[in-house]
């Protein structure tokens, strides 16, 4: 049987219970999340896929503790994180989550090493330990020797690998990848996706947000959203039947 069912007895790593996120736009209310419930377990590789405006970014923001739901519960590692203050959210992001963004989001004036060290810096880790862990992650993404380079001296693929190293540095429970290949050509996209799969094989939990079915197919499980609701949740091979 699938791994999803094998792990069902554990506490889910991420559990959304009837999440609503409502934006007030003038007189109308926009339901960006309209009663979303889902469970994601440790070691899964999940793609949340949907068109723009489907509510996938809202889900990503809520899962990433960048935003709080209007109503509903979000349990992360069994802990209710749906009503936290800014600083409490920051703490969760720092300790539990690793972000990979479409635009890499590296700080231009900091070099590779310093960029990778950032989350460790905010975690209050001593300098030598920080440096060592950052070097290890940089080597892991194949950029050893580029520690002193500025992001502008690297190719797009390399920059994305730096951001992966940065996401990994804090040893997070979940890696959240928001359109990680959106700005890359097909060959480098391939590299990044292969790397994410490799990370998953090593036991990391990965949540991939994308609008692109072919990218979503790389995941093991696909959650398709439209109009703020989940319209499909199952293994990737069922999400994209032949000829779709």
């Amino acid at each position: 049987m699938s791994r999803i069912q094998q792990t069902a007895a554990q506490t889910p790593l991420i559990e959304l219970r009837d999440i609503y996120k409502i934006y007030h736009m003038g007189d109308t209310d926009v339901h960006a999340s309209d009663g979303v419930s889902m469970k994601i377990y440790r070691g899964e590789f999940v793609a949340i896929v949907g068109q723009s405006g489907s509510g996938k970014s809202t889900l990503m923001n809520i899962i990433g503790c960048l935003d709080v739901p209007t109503s509903g519960q979000y349990l992360l590692n069994g802990e209710d994180v749906s009503e936290l203050t800014d600083d409490e959210q920051a703490e969760i992001r720092n300790k539990t989550l690793g972000f990979i963004f479409q635009q890499y989001n590296l700080i231009p004036k900091l070099n590779v090493q310093e960029n990778v060290e950032l989350s460790l810096l905010y975690a209050g880790m001593p300098a030598d330990e920080r440096a060592e862990r950052a070097r290890y992650q940089i080597a892991r993404v194949g950029l050893a020797g580029k520690e002193k380079n500025l992001p502008s001296q690297l190719s797009g693929g390399q920059q994305q690998r730096v951001s992966i190293a940065r996401a990994l540095a804090g040893n997070p429970s979940v890696i959240l990848a928001d359109e990680p290949t959106g700005a890359l050509d097909s060959r480098t996209s391939r590299e990044v996706l292969d790397f994410l799969r490799k990370l998953n094989d090593e036991g990391n939990t990965i949540v991939l947000i994308t609008h692109d079915n072919s990218i979503a197919q790389e995941a093991k499980r696909v959650i398709r959203v439209a109009d703020g609701k989940i319209i499909f949740d199952g293994p990737a091979r069922e999400a994209f039947p032949r000829g779709d």
Partner: protein, 391 residues
């Protein structure tokens, strides 16, 4: 993120845009610079004037009697009596007669235009702490005999050709034999304290046909000045029954009131210069606001990686403080350089004091932190989602 990290980051950020950093600091540089220049020059001037007065002796009380007709008056003997009754307070007393007129060498070939000629008693040297380099000072016998003798300052002695004792100077045509030469008080130049001639006050009084109206009293110590003033005031009031006919001036009091006056003037000038510090602070706030907007995305990234409000706050406050502090240091160096060279130009020592430098630095750090607060709090409150999307 620790303080040193934030500080390094701030330096990096400043180094990244040097021209902008410099222009941002310019207000603080000018403000701190002008405060340093003003304070240093004022302090230099105060020091100069004070030491000038102190040379004359801080324990000196000068009594000036204008007199009230012939019935109510005091003469030299009355003043000597007053002195002798109060030797516990007064160390010495000398009637002082200023002699106006021409001073020439015996041959009349050279004249002294700015020489001060005073008739004094034998105690005057002690009162004013005058030393001799050769010869003797005026003696009691000179006073009694109204001797035509003189003691000259170092400048006058030099003009007489060095070995002045025994030579003659002519004051208003009267030949005076030089009996002593004073040790140099100043730089022995024309117009300085060394450009002087002292003669017995009895002789001076005869030469000028003037009444003796000025008396110089010296107390044992400047702390007795008030007591001395009271004694003199009581005695003179008993004679004149009106305060308008005599004045008693206390050297220490004069120095104090002058220092107070210069101090007040300094405060006003520094206050005006301080306005430019305020303007500099507003400049920093302005640039920090621009910087926060420009770095919205960076703030979003930092927040997504777990930076708390206080981390972002600290980063921007320290950056503002560092900018301002650096401007302060440049301003201090620039101000000190200008003050010292201006001081040399006008002949005073205008080296900035440690306290002026310390306070200026402290104020510039404070201004940066104060004016950095608002932009930093704006940055800290940014929503990470919006900040990450910002282009």
């Amino acid at each position: 993120m620790g303080f040193t990290q934030a500080f390094k980051l701030a330096l990096k950020s400043l180094a990244g845009s040097k021209l902008r950093a410099f222009l941002t600091m310019l207000g603080i540089i000018i403000g701190v610079g002008s405060v340093i220049i003003l304070v240093s020059l004022m302090q230099g001037m105060t020091g100069e004037v004070t030491s000038m007065f102190e040379d004359m002796g801080t324990n000196v009380l000068t009594v000036n009697v204008t007199g009230r007709g012939s019935s109510r008056t005091v003469d030299v003997d009355d003043m000597y009596d007053l002195y002798e009754q109060n030797t516990d307070v007064f160390m010495g007393m000398s009637p002082t007669v200023s002699v106006m007129g021409s001073v020439k060498t015996s041959t009349g070939s050279d004249s002294f235009s700015s020489t001060t000629v005073s008739g004094v008693s034998e105690q005057y040297a002690e009162i004013n702490d005058l030393g001799l380099q050769s010869g003797r000072f005026i003696s009691y016998a000179d006073l009694e005999a109204r001797s035509k003798v003189a003691v000259v300052g170092a400048y006058v002695a030099n003009m007489l050709g060095g070995n002045a004792v025994g030579q003659t100077v002519k004051v208003n045509g009267n030949a005076l034999i030089v009996v002593g030469v004073l040790a140099a008080q100043d730089d022995a130049s024309e117009g300085s304290a060394d450009d002087c001639i002292y003669l017995p006050y009895t002789t001076a009084s005869k030469l000028t046909f003037g009444e003796i109206s000025t008396y110089t009293f010296a107390t044992w110590d400047a702390s007795l000045n008030t007591q001395g003033t009271t004694i003199l005031d009581n005695a003179l009031y008993a004679v004149f029954e009106n305060e308008d006919f005599y004045t008693i001036s206390d050297m220490q009091e004069m120095i104090d009131s002058m220092e107070e006056m210069i101090g007040m003037m300094t405060m006003v000038l520094v206050g005006i210069a301080g306005i430019s510090l305020l303007v500099g602070g507003i400049g920093i706030m302005n640039i920090m606001l621009v910087s926060v907007t420009e770095r919205t995305r960076e703030i979003g990234i930092r927040k997504s990686l777990g930076a708390k409000r206080r981390d972002i706050m600290r980063q921007f406050v320290i950056e503002a403080g560092t900018t301002s502090a650096l401007g302060g240091v440049i301003g201090i160096v620039f101000g000190a350089a200008v003050a010292v060279s201006l001081g040399q130009l006008i002949g005073i020592n205008a080296t900035p004091s440690v306290s002026a430098v310390g306070v200026s630095f402290g104020v510039s750090v404070f201004i940066g932190v104060f004016f950095g607060f608002m932009p930093a709090s704006k940055a800290a409150k940014l929503n990470p989602i919006d900040a990450l999307r910002y282009d």
